[in-house]
Amino acid sequence: MTPALRAMLVIPEAAIVLALPPLLLSVIARTKAWFAGRVGPPWLQPYYDLLKLVRKGVVHSRTTTWVFRMGPIVNLAAMLTALTLIPVLTSTSLLGFSGDLILVAYLFALGRMLTVLAAMDTGSSFEGMGAAREVTFATMAEPALFLSLAALAISTRTLRLDQMIDGSLALAWASIGPALLLVVGALVVVLLTECSRIPVDDPATHLELTMIHEVMVLDHSGPELALITYGAALKFMLLSSILVHTAFPHIDLLDGWPVIFIVPLRIGALLALAAFVGTIESTMARLRLSRVPLLQAGATVLAGLAVLLVLLRRTT
């Protein structure tokens, strides 16, 4: 497409991308409701919730400091920065550069770190417990994420995230399919871990002792809670779009097709992944906390194996 057309489409594209995350959450909720035989909340419920939170006032505990107030803001800022590096509706990212995959991983880590700091800033033992769990599980999922990205980088011979998961990956699927299946499996586990979904964490629980992510944001209220909720949804969308691009890079090969066809296709893929996560949440129970590291180790092993296979193929 011509540069002029491209420039014109940036604003609608940004609008759609920024409006999408709560819809993904809504799809997950509806899927779970369908499995339970209920109708579920309205499709736009997350938007209503965000609006409601923005209009409310905020309450800060006396034990908290500026760290507590900074947490949600930096988290959202990190996610938005990552948004410029990850392709969602197109095959290229906005500000991609060689080596940006490391920046993406660490932006996620930055967001997580500030959330954890804000949680510990409250001085409550619940938040501290949640922070400890979150950090442990995220640490164990890091190798899986990095090894998966490494496998993708080796197979497409590039270090730019958007180039790693575009059409050239479709050729790799034909030759090293099994390895890329392993990468997809590892990335699914990373998605479930980072976004605190079952089987790592139950987002619908109301018992603080069983929470991980929910308990860390227990003390936030009003607009800050809205920032956190939206940030979490945005993180989910970003990781989902990496996963969708890895699993179905063939969409990128449809170069000649009009934009009006491709964008709904991509959005549909994201919604399908959200439904898939909803299915996982409905059919599985949360793992015992002592077994969660095993899941992460399994994902790391899958990703490591994928790297081995890709290396083997590259030398032959």
Partner: protein
């Protein structure tokens, strides 16, 4: 979807099943994982022959039927029966823990890949993943055998080792007479049968299957 991709996918699946067995805590789950692994393994001679362009040979068909009937159906049945009469269902945590087992198993697999990258496999292997996966399965079987305490899981470890060696034997498919291959299969089956009987006696004698609690015979 070429035959090579199918073979690669099958080999990766076999390796993954081996690693899954390292993380499984229930005995019945371990046995079922083994049964699935043998099912995938049973089709390997057929796929190998196809890749070499030889169509469906009698040798491959006989091995398919033999493997399915003995390793996929009979052996798991014998082992499941032993568990059921013993009413022992869960494995206690191995000495090194499940997570560490999986990680060590993965490292052993990586080592196997490294070793087989140095080995020049003579002849024409149907896939370059065959030797690494065979060696990894062998080592994972050894790991299961050495690190687990319940007798049934040790038997499963031995069987996974045999699976790895069987994979290795695929390289020699055309040179081994059917008689010898069937003999190997039968030996494994009778071996497992004998082991199941011994496990039954162990359970009857001790009321559990923990082999590391068996009285170590004193030297004096």
């Amino acid at each position: 979807m070429s035959l090579h991709t199918v073979m690669d996918a099958a080999l990766v699946l076999i390796l993954l099943l081996g690693l899954t067995m390292l993380s499984a805590g229930r005995l019945a789950t371990c046995i079922r994982i083994f049964a699935i692994q043998c099912l995938v393994l049973a089709f390997m001679p057929l796929v190998t022959e196809w890749i070499h362009g030889e169509g469906v040979t009698r040798h491959a068909l006989v091995m398919l039927l033999g493997t399915i009937s003995l390793k996929v159906l009979l052996i798991p049945w014998v082992l499941l029966r032993t568990i059921r009469t013993g009413e022992i269902h869960r494995e206690i945590e191995p000495f090194i823990g499940f997570t560490a087992s999986v990680v060590i198993g993965a490292m052993l697999a990586a080592g196997a890949f490294a070793v087989s990258a140095r080995l020049t496999v003579p002849g024409d292997p149907p896939s370059d993943l065959l030797v690494p996966v065979a060696l990894s399965t062998l080592m994972i079987g050894l790991l299961v055998l050495v690190s687990r305490t319940k007798a049934i899981t040790q038997v499963l470890g031995y069987l996974v080792m045999e699976n790895g060696i069987y994979l290795f034997g695929l390289l020699l498919l055309r040179q081994m007479p059917i008689l010898v291959e069937l003999g190997i299969l039968l030996d494994v089956f009778v071996g497992v049968f004998v082991m199941a009987i011994v496990v039954y006696h162990i359970r009857r004698e001790f009321d559990h299957m923990d082999t590391h609690v068996l009285e170590p015979a004193k030297e004096s």
